[in-house]
């Protein structure tokens, strides 16, 4: 297609999309232009798909047929961000936010709300969106969204994820058109540089500089690469972008191709993300169909195409040199740098590699200008950052906030605090490479440099909240298990270092720790930091070092008193029935998943400590508080 055709398509679809983005009254007015009385957006992201949103859509379609509804559009979108409430469904123009939908609920909503003259089904709305007086709060105004600023996620949960027309209607490819018609390659790079965009994959390297290096490198061929190997367990922002707005990534890669002089790109995506992979395949095919990928893009003399490569379950492939090895069909073992990918990357050609979230920030910068972008965030960290909020927090999901937003805002204002009134103990950022932020640092503005300064790191943006029931030694061990398992085994420091550190931590959590083990941990951790080949090994000790720094008392308790204060480390505790309190109701016995509890009705029960896996089911079911952890 030509630029004109693109602009026309965007204009045709603009109102349809706009209805979903503006306030209710205007939206109602605008809806009249679209040919649809209402639009029902159902989340088709991984979280909601897992909780059966597809069945909700199917039910809606069936009900529409039955009820003769033909002027309501069903839109299967990417992730809305509030995964814990899935499946999520939003009805526009009113912005009614239905949560935890079932097919039955869908049927009810169709019959009562979506039919002509229907009314919002308040009892099925997300509780926090209904005022005491019965009026509803539109989706965009609930606290979870109010404090956010969505740039990378701007189209996620807004457009039909598999429709290139909706993507174009929402503004995708406008930046590409601008670049191809009115900007020079250097102009593009300068814009990105001026915006102050830093890589969202973890290290925070300035993106524009990376592009510049690759442009300046000598090579008969160059590549653009998207790192979609989001390996941090507990981070899913890249997945959500790929599922919700894949075209923004394709567009940005094409822009980079133009800027650095590449004609081919690779997207390396985790195979564990089947929906993202599928949507990318569809997006690439449709972009090719529309001439937005391939030869002479938008009628220009610039050509660019993208290949999709699947990972196969190796965290280390998030490291760029390992990712390159994997694309080349080899074991994903990192290489020492230099040479950097900008000089020698995929198939030894100059390559620019950025992660998904970084790519998703490119088009808005081109469209709105570097000045706009750099006005957001802190001095050295510009723009917004997406965090995957998880763990012991009410609003598990994806949030995008300006750099410099405090942890407190994220956890309490957006995240809705911790469930069951539990105390915030720490937040873990940066995944296996990051560290724990204790409650004393709740007011720290979250940006690249501040997080590094307090011994954690931004990483890809995983943010796991922990409460008083989380043992910090156990968490350190969890991450070490992860890095030990995911170490590629190439360099000595990481291959053996992670194993030895894990050996020591295991000893400690089993109550066999000795005082000198704590010194050995520090020594090994420092060695790995200084002597490992790649970032995986260099940062693998971070979870231990930061927990030792902020929660040293827990380590001391484990080592000196053989106690686990959080009641997690199994070797250090045992479950016992207090015979004085036990009424012999058999509830614990019947709920024990491993048959470790025995006892007759109306007589005190007993726990076989050898069989017991300390899962806590008995405690959860006992009505008399008869089960005690010793």
């Amino acid at each position: 297609m030509t630029v004109k055709e693109l602009e026309k398509l965007a204009a045709d679809k603009a109102d349809l999309i706009k209805v979903r983005k503006i306030v209710r009254e205007q939206a109602e007015e605008l809806a009249k232009n679209t040919g649809y009385r209402k639009q029902v957006l159902v989340c088709g992201g991984t979280g909601c798909t897992s909780s059966h949103s597809q069945q909700v859509i199917e039910q809606l379609e069936a009900s529409f047929k039955e009820l003769g509804i033909n002027d309501v559009l069903i839109v299967k979108t990417g992730c809305f961000g509030l995964c814990a409430l899935g499946p999520i469904m939003i009805v526009y123009p009113e912005g009614a936010f239905y949560s935890q939908m079932t097919p039955e609920h869908a049927k009810t909503v169709a019959e009562k709300h979506l039919v002509k003259g229907g009314e919002v089904v308040k009892e099925l709305l997300y509780g926090e969106t209904v005022h005491d007086d019965g009026s509803i709060i539109p989706f965009a105004e609930i606290p979870f969204y109010k404090h956010q600023m969505r740039i990378a996620l701007r189209n996620c949960g807004v457009i039909a994820a598999e429709s290139i027309e909706e993507a174009i209607g929402a503004g995708d490819y406008a930046a590409l058109a601008k670049v191809l018609t009115s900007m020079t390659p250097d102009g593009v790079i300068n814009e990105i540089k001026a915006a102050g965009l830093r890589g969202r994959g973890g290290a925070g390297f300035p993106t524009g500089l990376k592009w510049q290096f690759t442009k300046d490198a000598v090579g008969d061929k160059k590549y653009v690469c998207c790192n979609a190997d989001e390996g941090d367990p507990g981070a899913f922002m890249d997945r959500s972008i790929l599922e919700g707005d894949p075209h923004t990534v394709l567009e940005a890669m094409t822009i980079a191709g133009y800027a650095i002089g590449a004609q081919e790109g690779y997207i390396y995506v985790r195979a564990e993300y089947p929906i993202a992979v599928e949507r990318l395949k569809i997006a690439i095919a449709k972009a090719r169909e529309k001439g937005l990928l391939g030869k002479n893009i938008l009628g220009s003399n610039f050509s660019f195409d993208i290949n999709l490569r699947l990972g196969a379950g190796a965290f280390v492939c998030g490291e760029e040199t390992a990712l390159i090895a994997s694309i080349e069909g080899k074991r994903g073992e990192p290489k020492p740098k230099p040479p950097f990918p900008a000089q020698s990357g995929i198939f030894k050609k100059p390559t620019v590699i950025n992660n998904v979230e970084t790519w998703a920030s490119v088009a808005p910068i081109i469209l709105n200008g570097a000045e706009w972008f750099s006005s957001i965030g802190t001095e050295k960290s510009k723009g917004t950052k997406v965090f995957a909020l998880g763990g012991k927090i009410n609003n598990v999901g994806l949030v995008e906030v300006p750099m410099g937003t405090t942890l407190k805002t994220i956890v309490y204002d957006i995240g809705g605090g911790l469930p069951d009134g539990k105390q915030f103990k720490a937040a873990q950022t940066g995944g296996p490479s990051g560290g724990c932020i204790p409650a004393t640092h709740l007011n720290v503005p979250m940006d690249f440099d501040n997080l590094t300064a307090i011994g954690s790191m931004m990483g890809s943006g995983g943010l796991i909240v922990m409460d008083e029931n989380t043992c910090m030694v156990d968490i350190a061990k969890f991450y070490l298990e992860f890095t030990a398992d995911e170490s590629c085994g190439k360099c000595t420091a990481c291959r053996i270092g992670t194993k030895r550190l894990l050996d020591i931590l295991t000893k400690i959590t089993e109550g066999k720790g000795e005082p000198e083990d704590l010194d050995k941990i520090t020594e090994l951790a420092e060695h790995m930091k200084s002597s490992s080949l790649c970032a995986l090994g260099q940062s693998a000790p971070n979870p231990i070092l930061s927990t030792m720094k902020h929660f040293s008392n827990e380590y001391i308790k484990h080592v000196y008193s053989k106690q686990c204060p959080a009641g997690v480390c199994k070797s250090l505790l045992s479950y016992q029935v207090n015979p004085d309190k036990c009424k012999g109701c058999t509830l614990c016995r019947r709920n024990c998943p491993v048959g470790a509890i025995s006892g007759e009705v109306k007589s005190a029960h007993e726990i076989d400590t050898k069989k017991c896996i300390k899962c806590g089911q008995c405690i959860a079911h006992c009505k008399f508080g008869a089960i005690e952890i010793k």
């Binding site: 897992s50 080349e328 994903g332 763990g391 806590g616 089911q617």
Partner: protein, 162 residues
């Protein structure tokens, strides 16, 4: 080296050969071919790896090295019902390790193994992205979220029957 249990069909082999033919000239064809081979066979039997090595002209040791590097490639056949427990951080802090432990005790196999009758296999995975439903386990693609260890046996029973 022959694996006596290998019982690939002609159709499967033809599919594999087609796929190799298709990718042969691509640079870095090995991984895409291995993915496809695993889709066809459910795992990567030694015979299949040999065919891949032969047709792509890479040493078998390299194919095997790649197969054993990536955790998604399996050298063992999987169970009729494939159970996967998420051990990502979000699931872990919500107790998915306990879920795994119940499964292991109930099916009397370790994570990564298959029951002798070929009915169940258990694997762990690193974050399927359903963090909002933590802790989760997946059986044959069906996601079971917000699990407690007490619910596991009931879910398993459904699959025991067939």
């Amino acid at each position: 080296m022959a694996n006596n249990l290998f019982d690939g069909t002609r159709e499967q082999m033809n599919k594999l050969l087609d796929c190799i033919e298709q990718h042969k000239s691509d640079p870095g064809a090995l991984m895409p071919v291995m993915h496809e081979a695993q889709n066809i066979y459910g795992y990567l039997p030694s015979e299949v790896q040999t065919v891949i090595a032969d047709k792509l002209n890479v040493p078998l040791a390299e194919v095997y090295g790649v197969a054993t590097f990536y955790s998604q490639f399996s050298l063992q056949p999987k169970g009729k019902h494939q159970i996967s427990v998420c051990l990502g951080t979000a699931c872990y802090v919500k107790g998915s390790d306990k879920i795994l432990e119940v499964l292991e005790k109930e099916l009397k196999i370790k994570c990564g193994e298959c029951t002798p009758d070929g009915k169940f296999s258990i694997d762990s995975c690193r974050c399927v992205g359903a963090c909002g439903l933590a802790p989760v386990m997946i059986i044959d693609g069906e996601v079971y979220g917000k699990l407690t260890s007490g619910e596991v046996n009931g879910i398993l029973e459904k699959y025991m029957k067939d």
